[in-house]
Amino acid sequence: MKRLISARQLTKNYKARCVVDHINIDIQEGEIVALIGSNGAGKTTTISMLLGIVPQDSGTIEYWTSDYKKEIGTQLQSTPFFEGYSVEDNMKLFAAFYGMTLTNKKIDDKLAAFDLLYVKKTPAIKLSLGQQKRLAIIVTTLHNPKLVILDEPSAGLDPRGQKEIQHIIKRLKESGVAVLFSSHDMLEVMNVADRILIMHHGKIMANGSPDGLIVQYQTQNLEDLFFELTK
């Protein structure tokens, strides 16, 4: 498998506080990687550095392509959309950011696939949280990226919404897209991820497959493993 991202000794400080502390991350083609950790563990900062939104203080990030922003799809934690723009117009706008023009058929197909066709003309910021998360993933995949990075895609959703997000992540993998997502939900991670990275106080505490790590650390389940490594 081809390596898409290789980050080495990545470090970020906010004033005197070290938020991300000399971490190494690799993401391979076609795999689903979950970044798990408590609030303030450094997940969002790590994701922001991988996306090139926040510059690292030290360390290196190597991408498989020189124009990586064209090949990565992004969903941020706040699922922001442009105010005053309908669902359809937000899709067209984000596609334009990637140099693409969307046809009406493609918009309808995408929205139908995510059960959002009936809100096509609705202002995006007026959608429910679950609808916004689904729309964010549509926007993330408009340009057929090789890698999708999702920051807490299921946060704040009800169980049905969480299940839908898991299903969407699995569909992305089936279509050959690698996914890096952050989460607090151990069940979700267990259901979806090929590999997990457990983060605590800016450090990577464990890196491996969920089952492999449970065996390695001799815990009952992923939740126990998480508490063991982050106490």
């Binding site: 996306l51 941020l76 334009a96 990637y98």
Partner: protein, 236 residues
């Protein structure tokens, strides 16, 4: 760029700030001047158009830019391959097109209310002045919105900049009797250059028009550089 321009144009047309600041306020001013100062009302058209364009291009867009940043969309924009200058130029151009349309509407209303004659050469010379000035003020609004953290700060900061620009110009009072230092300020006041450009279009004064256009192009270049250098993607 074309899609970003067109979508922003469509979205901005539906903005309520636009309706209030840029259409209802000038209309009210034109009617009030017609009622209370009927002999002078025709002479205020340039000032009303200039103030209307200034308020829309500066104040309204500053609030929109701040609101989008606070929603986090600029952070997402940062993760895309679109260069920042393309985004700023595209959205600013659409706002400037709206400013031009607004100026036409205000002009038409003033002409009808005051029963004045009209020449198309006025539009021909007024349009590039409004385009360049409006773009400069939009770029300036990006700069101001990058300086502040919330709407309250923005309102104060914008007023600190706007009020001196308005008062140190011939929009409301003649500068001839103003103290010397106010007159010096008016010489380096982009709003005064804008106002002079519009007046020159009405008076067919081509040397003043050309001078205003050149000064505004300089202002445009400077404000574009400042807006790009200071652009804030997020509050973090």
């Amino acid at each position: 760029m074309k899609t970003v321009f067109l979508l922003n144009l469509k979205s901005s047309m539906k903005d309520m700030y636009l309706l209030f600041w840029s259409i209802l306020m000038p209309f009210a001013a034109i009617i009030a001047l017609r009622i209370f100062l009927p002999n002078y009302s025709g002479g205020y058209i340039e000032g009303i158009i200039a103030v209307s364009v200034f308020f829309y291009s500066f104040m309204t867009t500053a609030f929109i830019a701040l609101s989008q940043r606070k929603r986090g969309v600029y952070n997402l924009l940062h993760a895309t391959p679109l260069p920042l200058w393309k985004y700023i130029v595209s959205v600013s151009s659409s706002w400037s097109v709206i400013a031009i349309i607004l100026s036409y509407i205000v002009l038409l209303f003033a002409l009808v209310v005051n029963q004045l004659k009209f020449s198309f050469t006025v539009l021909l010379y007024m349009t590039p002045i409004i385009l360049i000035a409006s773009l400069s003020f939009v770029f300036l609004s990006f700069f101001i919105s990058s300086l502040v953290k919330n709407e309250g700060h923005l309102s104060m900061t914008a007023n600190v900049l706007m009020i001196p620009m308005l008062l140190c110009s011939n929009a409301f009072f003649t500068m001839e009797k103003a103290p010397d230092f106010i007159q010096y300020i008016s010489l380096v006041n982009p709003f005064e250059w804008f106002l002079n450009g519009i007046k020159a279009a009405f008076l067919n004064n081509f040397s003043l028009w050309g001078e205003s256009l050149l000064l505004l192009i300089g202002c445009l270049t400077l404000t574009l550089i400042i807006s790009l250098k200071t652009f804030k993607y997020s509050d973090q």
